[in-house]
């Protein structure tokens, strides 16, 4: 009898401890990073690392490494372990692979730089810190109209067809007073009359090449580049792109000095990607800490203010409300000249 009581006590205490441990388990945030393109994920690693050092320990963080071929399997394994919050700096194509699994497992994904609105709409619980392409298109169209350009040519490359086609068509639709001419990079010589402005939707490398051609053939035309052209490569080729305006999603004017110190102390460089990844991890942390379910995630994000590295921001639908910034390329730096969205449209 005595032994039976002891045994029963052990069973009851053991079950209570297991239950208590399961219910009070810290929420886990999984940081998704590709290991087959480590060179291009440098900025995201810096942003995530700084955020991890800043955040308290009431939420557990784990690294989830994947390659472009095993992403779905890796994510499935992570959700089986109970991870419901993910943060990443992936391509749109990666997010479209994850969409179904996020819905099935009720998991939330916070992305730093995915801008394709179609992909985000399909992946129900995926959100982004960057303005979506439709907003960028509106911003570029507003800038062109504000400047009063009477004739516009949109030049696109073939590196990311989904992105370049969508953005060029949206800009054309948003321009109310001018009907722009959309041409492929290879057909630049087909343009006969000199347009007042060229919009370049392409990689930075292509933007440098095409700017040289435009400057030699069409004297005096203005150059405006989409967010993909925003790269330090433009500074290196200043002669070719002088006077060009490029769009970006981060303004570092109000960046805390402690933040930039953390980057420069490790001999690393501060890029917009670093800041967006930092903010993305902080958003994922808030969701996990407050145990926000996937179903409530959109309403939570849309009704709360988040404190980012360069100021406060909120969400509108699937993306953060951050302005689109327009920078002029100078011999040494990108100079902020205008912004669209945010507090005021006039800068």
């Amino acid at each position: 009898m005595k032994w039976l009581i002891v045994l029963a006590t052990f069973v009851v205490v053991g079950t209570t401890v297991v239950l208590f441990h399961t219910l009070n388990k810290e929420p886990i945030v999984g940081i998704l990073l590709p290991i087959d393109r480590v060179n291009s994920s440098l900025g995201s690693r810096i942003g995530f690392l700084i955020a991890l050092k800043d955040l308290p320990n009431d939420v557990e963080f784990v690294n989830i490494d994947y390659t472009s071929t095993n992403l779905k399997k890796v994510l499935e394994r992570a959700t089986k372990k109970g991870i419901r919050y993910f943060v990443g700096d992936n391509y749109s194509s990666d997010v479209s692979k994850m969409g179904d699994l996020l819905i099935k497992t009720h998991s939330i994904l916070i992305e730093s730089m995915v801008t394709n609105p179609a992909v985000l709409d399909k992946a129900k619980y995926a959100y982004t810190l960057s303005p979506t392409d439709d907003i960028q298109a509106k911003a570029i169209a507003s800038y062109l109209e504000k400047k009063g350009y009477k004739s516009i040519a949109i030049v696109k490359d073939t590196s990311n067809p989904e992105y370049v086609n969508y953005l060029s068509e949206e800009i054309a639709m948003d321009l109310k007073n001018v009907k722009p001419e959309i041409v492929s990079i290879s057909k630049i010589n087909d343009i006969k009359a000199t347009p007042a402005a060229f919009v370049l939707i392409m990689s930075a490398e292509n933007a440098v090449k095409i700017s040289k051609i435009i400057k030699s053939k069409f004297f005096g035309s203005a150059l405006i580049g989409s967010d993909r052209t925003f790269n330090v490569l433009l500074l290196k080729n200043f002669q070719a792109v002088s006077g060009m305006i490029v769009t970006g999603f981060v303004d570092t004017t109000y960046l805390s000095s402690k933040f930039s110190e953390k980057v420069t102390k490790s001999d690393l460089s501060l890029t917009p990607r670093v800041i967006l990844c930092y903010d993305a991890l902080k958003v994922a942390y808030r969701l996990a800490k407050n145990h926000i379910s996937a179903g409530n995630s959109q309403s939570y994000l849309n009704t709360h203010t988040f404190m980012g590295a360069v100021g406060n921001f909120t969400f509108n639908g699937k993306h953060a409300i951050t302005p689109v910034y327009f920078y002029k390329i100078t011999p040494f730096n990108f100079n902020l000249v205008w912004r669209f969205g945010g507090k005021s449209d006039d800068f």
Partner: protein, 575 residues
């Protein structure tokens, strides 16, 4: 009794010995692992330093033997960032805007994070050459150490296995959240050694079960002995022990007095209660004392921060004074810094004239309605008021911190006051106080700009000089008060008859000037006649003279045009 005591003593000694043994075994095992880790990390560090010294002495030759590493490519640049020679190095890594150039200029050397070069891990090293004339860089392949449980990790948390196979692994959570060099995650013991070069570390992982098995294996004789003693003790009669229990309680109580700790007696009485309350009081005092010390050190660090902020603010506001930054941007930066000042400040905002700035949990709504949870302050400046709202954790914040925040706000307000006075002074220098038209100096400066613009855009520009004939006589006849009224009337007519883009000024005591943008001489003549006809309706008789000069027909420089105008007015006087 003697047997029991003896058994207990032997048991205690055996357990103590085995525990001490286990502890030292564990320490010894960890020490061995640490030594192994240090050996590997030192060898990697030596290799990197060796490579750096080769670079600084500029001995890079394509087929030279470099310790245990091979190199992929190299670059040589001058001190201005111009690439002189480069072999197999990606363009983005070199040149004036590369991290390599920036950090070599800053620190004399640069060690890049890990790079994936076609599946092999590489590191880019760069340094000033020893003659100080060049910057040399080299991309090296990471040498395989054939250690399966070790990783080299760069400053971004990316690791690659030292086994020789390019096995990449992100380890930023381990890097960010660990507190010591040796730490445990799950059933793995990690040892992390920093390399003191480029933020690199070497991480070893060891399975804890295997370490424990080896320790138990060494101590098994002790554990068998403990088991035997426990068995003997269990068999022995318990009654003897119960007889000595009161004595044991007394001994325990005496020991607790020695240590001045609470004593929980089997049966409570008043003496024990008084003793325990004394112990409680003493513990409370000790806690209060340590809290006080903690609070003082926090205030001390905050004071240092306030000093830093005050220096930063004065530099920031200096930029505003010298027109290198506008007031709103400076105030935004100042408030953002204040938000970083203390972790107890959750939000901060200010409203001054049209400027409304808020960060954190403070929003526009808080300025219009008082919120008891937020601290509101309204401070007067020279000609206006500034309202501040601060969301501060009142319970977690010391009173001194409140005072420090207020000091910073007073400092910002006093600057705004100074800025207002400065603006007032600037404005009075630009405008004539009687007529509110531009001063002569300001007019000439703006007119020169307009002339340059008209020349560039091939536009007309007309200047009119208006002069009151015999102003001295008018003053003597009708008094200086009436003279001032007349000048104001003329200024009013000039303002009403000029467009927003035109420039007008009081040129001398009785002379006025007008610069009409994109206007021909004929149109300017019509305008001046209209103005004079309006002025002639003044209550006292007044005669006006005028002259018109146009760009480019009458001259291309402002001085030439002014001479023409003066001459024109003088000739009209003679007539």
């Amino acid at each position: 009794m003697i047997f029991k005591k003896f058994t207990l003593t032997v048991l205690a000694v055996t357990i103590a010995l085995s525990l001490v043994g286990m502890y030292f075994q564990y320490k010894y095992q960890v020490e061995i692992l640490e030594r192994k880790t240090a050996l590997v990390s030192n060898s990697i560090l030596e290799e990197l330093k060796n490579d750096l010294s080769i670079i600084s002495n500029f001995e890079i030759r394509p087929y030279s033997h470099l310790a245990s590493t091979e190199f992929k490519g190299f670059v040589l640049m001058d001190l201005k960032g111009k690439v002189l020679h480069s072999l197999d190095i990606p363009l983005k890594m070199i040149g004036k805007y590369s991290n390599m150039y920036k950090y070599v200029v800053l620190n004399g050397m640069y060690v890049s994070p890990l790079n994936d070069s076609d599946g092999s891990p590489t590191i880019f090293l760069a340094s000033n050459t020893s003659d100080g004339k060049y910057i040399a860089g080299m991309e090296i392949f990471l040498a395989a150490k054939h250690i399966s449980n070790a990783f080299i990790i760069d400053s971004t948390g990316l690791g690659v296995s030292l086994s020789g196979k390019a096995q990449w692994k992100n380890m930023m959570t381990l890097l960010a959240k660990r507190k010591n060099e040796v730490f445990v995650r799950g059933s793995t013991l990690f040892i992390l050694k920093k390399l003191d070069l480029g933020g690199y570390s070497v991480l070893f992982d060891f399975s804890i079960p295997s370490i424990l098995i080896s320790i138990f294996h060494n101590d098994y004789i002790f554990w068998i002995l403990i088991l035997l003693i426990v068995m003997i003790y269990y068999i022995h009669d318990k009654a003897t022990f119960s007889r000595i229990k009161p004595l044991m309680d007394f001994v325990n109580f005496m020991k607790s007095i020695d240590n001045f700790k609470r004593y929980e007696p089997p049966k409570s009485n008043e003496a024990f209660f008084k003793y325990n309350s004394l112990v409680d009081k003493s513990e409370k005092m000790s806690r209060d004392y340590s809290n006080l010390i903690e609070e003082m050190s926090e205030i001390n660090s905050e004071l240092t921060q306030v000093n830093h902020l005050l220096i930063e603010f004065s530099m920031l506001f200096n930029e505003v004074k010298t027109n290198r930054k506008d007031l709103e941007s400076a105030l935004k930066i100042a408030l953002r810094r204040m938000l970083d000042f203390s972790r107890t400040i959750n939000g901060i905002g200010m409203r001054y004239k049209d400027i409304s700035i808020h960060f954190g949990t403070v929003n526009d709504f808080n300025f219009d309605r008082e919120n008891p949870a937020k601290l509101s302050m309204e401070l007067k400046t020279d000609s206006s008021t500034v309202k501040y709202v601060i969301s501060i954790d009142r319970f977690a914040t010391a009173e001194k911190t409140h005072d420090m925040v207020k000091t910073l706000l007073y400092y910002i307000t006093s600057f705004i006051s100074m800025y207002e006075m400065l603006e007032q002074n600037r404005s009075s220098m630009r405008y004539d106080p009687l007529t509110n038209l531009l001063t002569r100096h300001e007019f000439e400066e703006n007119a020169n700009h307009e002339l340059v613009r008209a020349k560039r855009e091939n536009q007309f520009l007309s200047f009119i000089m208006l002069n009151v004939k015999d102003m001295t006589g008018f003053n003597e006849k009708y008094g200086h008060l009436n003279g001032d009224v007349l000048l104001k009337q003329i200024a009013k007519e000039i303002t009403m008859n000029s467009r927003f883009t035109d420039l007008s000024c009081r040129y001398a005591e009785d002379k006025f000037m007008l610069c009409l943008i994109e206007m021909k001489k004929e149109d300017a003549l019509g305008k001046v006649k209209k103005m004079i006809s309006h002025i002639s309706t003044f209550k006292h008789r007044v005669e006006m003279k005028y002259a018109i000069a146009s760009f480019p027909s009458d001259g291309e420089k402002l001085d030439d045009l002014l001479i023409q105008l003066e001459k024109g007015v003088k000739e009209q006087k003679k007539d």
